[in-house]
Amino acid sequence: MFHEKQSGPAAAAALEAVGYRVGQQLAERYTRDKPRLGDALEIIKFVCKDFWQALFKKQVDNLKTNHRGVYVLQDNGFRWLQRLSAPPPGSDPAREEAARQLALSYLHLPAGIVRGALCHLGVSCTVEPDPKQLPSCTFTVRVM
């Protein structure tokens, strides 16, 4: 019950909103000395490279797109999940799902930051985090 209150949808939305604002401000600062970015792909690339480097001290490992407004950013060693211990491989699916849910609550803030940065640079989108296998995770960006 307590845990639900602490990490329910309201808390997730609040964390996302905080991240959104932080993302806006960071995007403003990190693009200050850059030449103007062009289309959506260039903006996403900026977020994958420079922005990720500044925030998480590494670049996104893999960027996939269907060229129709969906981008999947995959980070194989997401910094903010590095210290969470993963369930041993081959453990039962229920346990893995529990770990996933737990890790997910740590991803609302970074997802908000990414969304804030993208929206501020002119790509209005939704960002959906998914910790597949700790500490790797993916962010699915859907351009609206």
Partner: protein, 153 residues
């Protein structure tokens, strides 16, 4: 040569800040400045479209947008689509490097102001610190007869 007015325009072409460097501007003058800056937005859009070439890298500094009878209008477009417009008096020569330097400092000032947790994006800028620092930046190219940065003896 001197800066007559500074304007910050938001991503949706919403005015964030307009300031005349005249010590005592009249309402008419403000209307005129609003008009000139408004026209400048069209010129900004045009410049952005023209620069949409395949290879050339796009600089934030847009250069001279257009000259009017009284002013020369310069523009700068940031990555977050905030436009900074500078109005220079139409006297003497204006060095591009100097204009660029002023723009860079104004941009840095805007970034610092936006980092304030009490700043809200899209709303007009109300900050004493912003105003004070802006005056300092603009004083690099003072308007003849204006009191900014001047030294009374």
């Amino acid at each position: 040569m001197g800066i007559a007015a500074v304007a910050f325009i938001g991503p949706q072409n919403n005015p964030l800040y307009l300031r005349s460097m005249d010590p005592s501007p009249s309402d008419d003058q403000y209307m005129k400045l609003h008009y000139v800056v408004h026209c400048a937005l069209d010129a900004v859009e045009e410049k952005v479209l023209l620069k949409r070439g395949p290879s050339d890298s796009q600089d934030a500094y847009l250069g001279l947008l257009y000259p009017t009878e009284d002013y020369r209008v310069y523009g700068y477009l940031t990555n977050s689509h905030v436009k900074i417009i500078l109005l220079f008096d139409d006297e003497g020569t204006i060095k591009n490097e100097m204009v660029l330097r002023v723009f860079r400092r104004l941009h840095a000032l805007y970034v610092d102001t936006a980092s304030n947790p009490f700043h809200s994006f899209g709303l007009p800028i109300r900050s004493g610190r912003f105003e004070a620092q802006l005056e300092g930046i603009v004083a690099v190219a003072p308007k003849p007869g204006a009191s900014l940065g001047g030294f009374m003896t």
